[in-house]
Amino acid sequence: MIRTHVLICGGTGCTSSGSMALKEALEKELEVKGLTEEVKLVTTGCFGLCALGPVMIVYPDGTFYSMVKPEDIPEIVEEHLLKGRPVTRLEYHEKTGDHHAVTSLSETTFYKKQHRVALRNCGVINPEVIDEYIARDGYAALGKVLTEMTPEDVIKTITDSGLRGRGGGGFPTGRKWQLARVIVQDGGKKYVACNADEGDPGAFMDRSILEGDPHAVLEAMAIAGYAIGADEGYIYVRAEYPIAIQRLEIAIKQAREYGLLGNDIFGTGFNFDIQLRLGAGAFVCGEETALMTSIEGNRGEPRPRPPFPAEKGLFQRPTVLNNVETYANVPQIILKGADWFASMGTEKSKGTKVFALGGKITNTGLVEIPMGTTLREVIEEIGGGIPNGKKFKAAQTGGPSGGCIPASLIDTPIDYDNLIAIGSMMGSGGLIVMDEDNCMVDIARFFLDFTVDESCGKCTPCRIGTKRMLEILDKIIDGKGELEDLDRLEELARYIKAGSLCGLGQTAPNPVLSTLRYFRDEYIAHVVDKKCPAGVCKHLLRFVINEDKCKGCTACARVCPAGAISGSVKNPHSIDPAKCLKCGACIEKCKFGAIEKK
C-alpha cells in the first residue's frame, strides 16, 4: 500500500542544482529502510520556484522542502517518512512572513496570486506516464471534440474564449484556425505546427510546459488538426532542451500506443500524428515563416507575408502554427468552456500568462498570473522583491524584441495592449528584473549584440543597421560618445523598423528605443559627463583606494598586472589612473573593501 508520495522536481532548473542525485539517494535510502512498498517517488515537471532548487514535496501532508542535499536524505527518510515528523530545518520558510514554515504551498505569497491553467499539471504529475495525465482529464477534450463537436464548433469555442497567441504577437488563435479551415486549395494536405523554439534569452516557459506536461501540447495539436482538417503535425523544439525533447519523445510514443495519436483515433476515423524537428540555435527561427523554412531543411530565413501560413505554410501547404503555451490552454478551454476562460483577464487579453522571472529578484522561477495583474504584484509579492536591499530599477519583457519598463510604471496592469503602449511587449514571457547596479546602456547593448548575432542577413537594414547601432553604443560605452549619437540611434532605429521583413528586424531597435525613452539621463551621463552611474561600463570608471580602509597589506599591488598600484607596507596605497587597466583584480584581492569604483 502506498501511503506517501514524494514529488521531486525534474525540470531543468532543479536538475541543474542536483535533483537527480537527490532522487538516487532517496531511492537507495527507501530501499535500506524497506519503504519501497509504502513510499512512492514521482519525478515531476517544474514547480516554479527554481531559485530554491532542488525542491521536493511530501504528500499527503504537503511538506515543501527546498535546497535539499543528498546528505539530508537519511534524516528526511528516518524522521519524516518513517516517524512522521517533518524536518523543519529543510522546510521552505517565507522570508517576508513571520518565519514559521508554511503548511501548504498554495498559501505562500509566491503561489497565492497565481492561477495555473497552462501550468496546471507542472509539478503535479509525472510527465513520463500518460496515465497520470489521463487521470487529470487528459485527452478528455480530444474525445469530446471528436465525438460531440464539429470543427466549426471547436473554432467557435476557441474564438469566443478570446485566446491570443502566447508567443508574443497576440494574434487571436480562433481566427488563425478559421483562416486555415476555410482555405480549400485542392482538398490536399494541411499541417499543424508547434513553435517550441524558445530563443528569447532568459525565458523558459515553453520548456517547462514541455518538460512538465507534454501531453497537453500533443492533445491540443490533435484538436487543432481536427479543427482545420490536418492529419500531420510538427513540433519544432530547441536542441538545447534535451529533457523536453526526451519527454516529448516518450509522450508521442505512449500516445501512439494508446491510440491517441495515429489512425482512427477514438474509433472516429480521425487520423493525426506528430513528428519532432530539432532546431539548431537560430533565434530567427522563432519567427513563423523562418521556422517553417527551417523545418523544410533550409537556412531559416523568413519569407514575405502574404501569403500567410494559413494559405501557404509548411511545404507550401495551409498551416496553423501556434506556440507551446497557446496549445497548453486549449484542452482546458474545450473542457471548461469559452466563458470560463474569458472570465479571466482583461477586456482584450483573456486568460492567464506564464512568465519566467529572472535577474535581480528573490524568487527566480516560473509564475502564471491572470492577465491584468500589475507588475508590482508580480515583482514585489510573487517575486519576493529585490534581494540585498537594492532598489528596483526596471523590468525587461519581450526579450530582444521588447523593452525596459521603468519603476514609475510598475503599477501597469500586464496585458498585450498595455505593454505595447509603454514601449515594450508581452513577448513569450521572459521577465528580467534589474536593480540599481545594472546600467541601462549596457543592457541595450547586450540585446543589440544578440540581434546583430542572430540577424539572418536577408534584409540590409537589419543586417547592417543593427551593426551600426551597436557600434554607436560601443562608442558611448567607451566614453567617446557625443550627444548627436543619440539622434543617430533613433534615426537608424526608424529605418530598421520600417525596412525589415520579419519581426526580428522590426523589433530589434526596441531595447534601445525604450531605454532612450525612459533612461535618457543615463545615456546623457555616459555621453556628456563620461560617467556610468551604475558603475558597469569599465572605460568610464575610475578605480580609487579609500585611504581610511586601506591597511597597506600590499595584496593589491602584487596582483595588479599593470603595476599601477604603489605604496609602502602598512601605509595606504594609491592607483595611477594612467596605468590602470580597470581589470578589477585588485578589488577581488582586497580583504578590506578599500578599493572603490567611481
Partner: protein, 164 residues
C-alpha cells in the same frame, strides 16, 4: 556568428564514415531532412568536418554550398572540434544581469582564449552560450555538461583547477 574552418587535421575513421552513410540512408525519403542529418553527423564526429559535408553532398545530391550554408547558419553546428574540457558560459539575459559577462572574460583571460575558441593543445575550449534554462542558479557555466551555478569571478580558478 562568424565561423571559420578548422585548421585541425581530419581524423575521420572508416567506422565513422559507415555511420554517416547509415544516417543519410535513414533519411533518404524524409522531407526536409538536412537538419537532422547534420545534427547526427555532428554527434558522430563531434563537429562538422568539411570531409563529412562532402560525403553528404555526394550522397544526397545537394550542392556542398547549400550544405555549408546551413551549417554556418545555425549556431549549434560547429566547424571546429571542441576541446577535451568544453566550457560554456551562459550569456542569457538572466545570467548576464548577474554578471556572467565577467565570468566569460575572466575565463578567456585565465585560459588565454579571449573571445572563445579551442586551445592549441586541444585541451580546453570556451564558448558563450544562449540561455540554458538554469536561471535560478544565475550566473551559470557548464563544463562538459556539468552545471556550476551562483558563481563569481573568484570561483573561476578553482573550477579550472579541477580539470587541469
Amino acid at each position: 556568428m562568424k565561423k571559420k574552418l578548422t585548421t585541425v587535421e581530419f581524423h575521420g575513421t572508416k567506422e565513422q564514415e559507415a555511420k554517416l552513410l547509415e544516417i543519410i540512408e535513414k533519411y533518404k525519403d524524409t522531407k526536409g531532412a538536412m537538419m537532422p542529418i547534420l545534427q547526427q553527423t555532428q554527434e558522430v564526429y563531434g563537429y562538422l568536418p568539411v570531409e563529412a559535408m562532402q560525403i553528404i553532398a555526394r550522397e544526397t545530391g545537394k550542392p556542398i554550398e547549400e550544405i555549408f550554408g546551413i551549417a554556418t547558419f545555425y549556431s549549434q553546428f560547429s566547424l571546429n572540434p571542441k576541446g577535451a574540457v568544453s566550457i560554456a558560459v551562459c550569456l542569457g539575459t538572466a545570467c548576464y544581469v548577474k554578471g556572467s559577462g565577467d565570468l566569460y572574460n575572466k575565463l578567456g583571460e585565465v585560459l588565454g582564449l579571449e573571445g572563445g575558441g579551442t586551445s592549441s593543445d586541444g585541451k580546453f575550449s570556451l564558448e558563450a552560450t544562449r540561455c540554458i534554462g538554469a536561471c535560478g542558479l544565475a550566473p551559470v557555466l557548464t563544463v562538459n555538461g556539468n552545471v556550476y551555478g551562483r558563481l563569481t569571478t573568484a570561483d573561476i580558478e578553482g573550477i579550472i583547477a579541477e580539470y587541469r
